[in-house]
């Protein structure tokens, strides 16, 4: 009886959601007339290249127009890794034997990961440094770098990332982001407002504060995800 009720409820919810989704005409422009300057999307498309000289409009939206959201998302990640650290914290008891949960890996994986690890780091750095020019950005680049560390952790059982270094990277990157925002406020403008020359379109050094913020985000995301992986992989079984 209970199961039947749940199924019925799910059917009703599913039906109403599908009807709503059908109401959104995919492919049709529902976001306003690009000629009408007052709609948000038209404004972004028409102004980004001139006002910010950033060719990747999405990056401009994420880091500049809606920079406060990105600062918030970065803090969500920060909080998640912090919360995980506080929940999984365990006092080390005297005489407690600990056994690693990971099995030893093969020679092939060990040799291969050593080779590929620097390349992964390089790709990650490339993605977040060029976030304002090509698809990708700080979050993607940071995640790529974290996968590199994950590979190393899986290949070498005793591979350790210094928590002290992670804390420094994480904090300095966060301070850079929030500090740039505050600097805009101190200069008499608004929070997170661009105060650097915007340069010429499609150059590496263009877009004002956008690349700096994205590089900080890249470092921060990489450090946080690596920290989360390290915390999770270091839960040891009690013997």
């Amino acid at each position: 009886m209970k199961k039947l009720l749940v199924l019925l409820l799910l059917a009703v919810v599913g039906y109403s959601l599908i009807t709503a989704m059908m109401g959104v005409k995919f492919g049709e422009n529902r976001l306003g007339d690009p000629q009408d300057e007052k709609t948000v999307s038209a404004y972004y498309l028409n102004n980004t290249t001139q006002k910010l000289s950033v060719s990747n409009v999405i990056t401009a939206i994420v880091v500049n127009y809606r920079g406060l959201d990105t600062l918030g998302e970065v803090s969500v990640l920060f909080l998640a890794s912090l919360g995980l650290g506080s929940i999984l914290y365990r006092k080390h008891k005297e005489g407690e034997e600990e056994v690693a949960i990971l099995k030893p890996s093969s020679q092939l994986l060990q040799a291969g990961s050593k080779l590929i690890f620097p390349a992964i780091l390089m790709l990650g750095a490339y993605v977040f440094i060029h976030g304002h020019l090509t698809p990708g950005g700080g979050f993607q680049g940071g995640a790529i770098i974290a996968t590199g560390f994950l590979l190393m952790m899986m290949a070498y059982q005793d591979y350790r990332v210094s928590h002290s270094v992670l804390v420094w990277v994480e904090s300095l990157a966060g301070i850079t982001f929030a500090g740039i925002g505050m600097w805009g406020l101190l200069l008499g403008n608004t929070f997170l407002e661009n105060f650097l020359p915007i340069g010429t379109l499609n150059n590496l050094f263009s877009g004002g504060i956008i690349p700096i913020i994205y590089i900080a985000v890249g470092f921060k995301v990489a450090a946080e995800l690596t920290g989360v992986l390290d915390t999770l992989l270091n839960i040891k079984d009690k013997h």
Binding site: G23, Y43, L68, F177
Partner: protein
């Protein structure tokens, strides 16, 4: 530097990123800095509130140099400013209360203060922002801080409560995101003022679907029935100060966003009646459940849910007087439930099951804490010399003016239930037979100070409500002035 609303977000975030480095200098800084930040924010909220009241105009701050519909903006009006001042004030007292709270004294305790500060930032951010997606981001910050704080003792029950909260909370986030996606596909903007301006162009069926998704998503945070299953567990398993923060900040932010959606963003016919019905069901069921509880913190949690139902009823009546009463009740609930959770935590401090029967006879052994608890209990049921009386009176008068007589009857009957279970606890506390084996925990100096301030507020507002009614009245006027909100935000549009 001139103070501005963005300080409520920027300063604590900067501090949160700085604290892990400060911890390398001195462990004590980890405790002190969040307090300094929250104290600073209380000062900022007072300065800005004075400015808003004197000029009669809200402060609308643009972020990133992009004017309203294109960038994100913060709105510090008489309404949001009132809630933010209340939240920062309560947060500061909670910080003082938890400064030497014994159970958070070991190594990960350092993380407690950062998480707590971010909980405050998230809640104030929800209230301040004028952008619906930004509200979602702050809701995530609040929620993730809240999950971690719920599981902070790292015991089995705490983990269970946090996991329950995590599942329901993630569900809420998903629904809310879906609602935002659908809304954006219809109106092409995320700015709440512009959404309010364009909502009448959305087809009725779609509007109701989006509205329902919002109400379910936000109702979970606002502890609305039947979405409040997480609340009793989370309240009873989290550390004492965190329970206070849930009642004083997190729930308030949830109710705020629900009210913002109903009053400002949408224009759905019948939404107010819906609030009344849901509020009444929430209130009746929660208060009856509270009557059955044997665990003190669970009882307080159900009482908290009941009060939120009462707030929803008052908002649902929708007249100026009712909204005034609702905001007054939110103020009172934050202060009084704060005092109850703070003193209650000490009354059941060392008993493993936190049962009400374990409190028997403590009244003579911990006279100060018991006095504070009794004061809070008398105030929350709405007895005359205390502040709780006024909010209940105003809401009942508003209900009478709008001729909701059944509602008045329900509220009065529920009040009797409330009196029964609070007086039962007080009877145990003062006239029960003392158990000798319970080891009592003396409150810290900060704890006594925080409870003393709250008790003073309850008595002073009870005798002289004029201290706050002026602010609450202008807050109620601001909330109901939808055209004014739209106009104030969108006049800044600059192509």
């Amino acid at each position: 530097m001139v103070v501005s609303p963005v300080h409520f977000i920027a300063v604590p975030l900067l501090a949160a990123f700085l604290i892990p480095l400060l911890a390398k200098v001195s462990k004590e800084l980890v405790r002190i800095v969040p307090g300094l930040v929250i104290g600073y924010l209380s000062v900022v909220s007072v300065i800005l509130m004075t400015q808003v009241v004197n000029t009669g105009q809200p402060i609308i701050e643009v972020i990133g140099g992009w004017s309203p519909p294109f960038g994100i903006n913060l709105v510090f009006s008489a309404f949001t400013g009132f809630l933010v001042s209340l939240m920062t004030f309560m947060a500061f007292l909670i910080w003082i209360y938890s400064y030497r709270f014994k159970k958070i004294d070991d190594a990960p305790a350092q993380k407690y203060f950062i998480l707590f500060m971010m909980l405050v930032t998230g809640s104030t951010g929800i209230v301040l922002t004028g952008d619906i997606f930004n509200l979602f981001v702050f809701m995530e910050i609040t929620a993730i801080a809240a999950y971690s704080l719920t599981a902070f003792y790292r015991d089995r029950d705490g983990a269970e409560a946090a996991f329950k909260y995590l599942l329901i909370g993630s569900f809420a986030s998903a629904l809310m995101l879906l609602a935002i996606v659908l809304l954006y596909s219809q109106v092409g903007t995320l700015n709440m003022a512009e959404i309010a301006q364009r909502i009448h162009t959305v087809p009725q069926g779609m509007k109701i679907t989006i509205f329902t998704l919002f109400v379910v998503g936000l109702g979970i945070e606002a502890e609305m029935f039947p979405l409040n299953g997480w609340a009793p567990d989370a309240y009873s398993q989290s550390p004492g100060p965190v329970g206070v923060a849930f009642a004083a900040l997190v729930v308030k932010a949830g109710v705020y966003s629900l009210v913002r959606v109903v009053f400002t963003m949408f224009d759905i016919h019948g939404a107010y009646e819906f609030l009344i019905i849901m509020g009444a069901i929430t209130m009746v069921i929660a208060e009856i459940s509270a009557l059955k509880q044997t665990n003190l913190k669970r009882m307080l949690a159900y009482s908290s849910i009941g009060q939120m139902g009462f707030v929803l009823i008052a908002f649902g009546i929708g007249t100026n007087a009712a909204v005034f009463g609702a905001l007054f009740l939110m103020f009172n609930h934050a202060v009084i439930k704060g005092l109850l959770f703070m003193s209650g935590s000490y009354l059941v401090y060392n008993t493993p099951s936190k049962e009400i029967k374990d409190m028997a006879g403590i009244g003579k052994k911990l006279p100060m804490v018991s006095f504070f608890f009794a004061l809070g209990a008398l105030a929350i049921v709405g007895l005359p010399p205390f502040s709780g009386f006024w909010s209940k009176l105003y809401i009942l008068m508003a209900a009478a003016d709008a001729s909701f007589y059944y509602l008045m009857g329900t509220i009065l009957i529920v009040s009797i239930i409330e009196i029964v279970y609070y007086f039962r606890v007080m009877g145990r506390l003062y006239f029960g037979k003392p158990q000798n084996d319970v080891v009592l925990q003396k409150p810290t100096l900060g704890g006594i100070f925080a409870m003393g301030v709250l008790a003073t507020v309850i008595i002073v507002i009870g005798i002289h409500p004029d201290f706050v009614t002026g602010f609450i009245q202008s807050a109620a006027d601001t909330l109901l002035d939808k055209a004014g909100y739209i106009n104030n935000v969108l006049q800044l549009t600059n192509l």
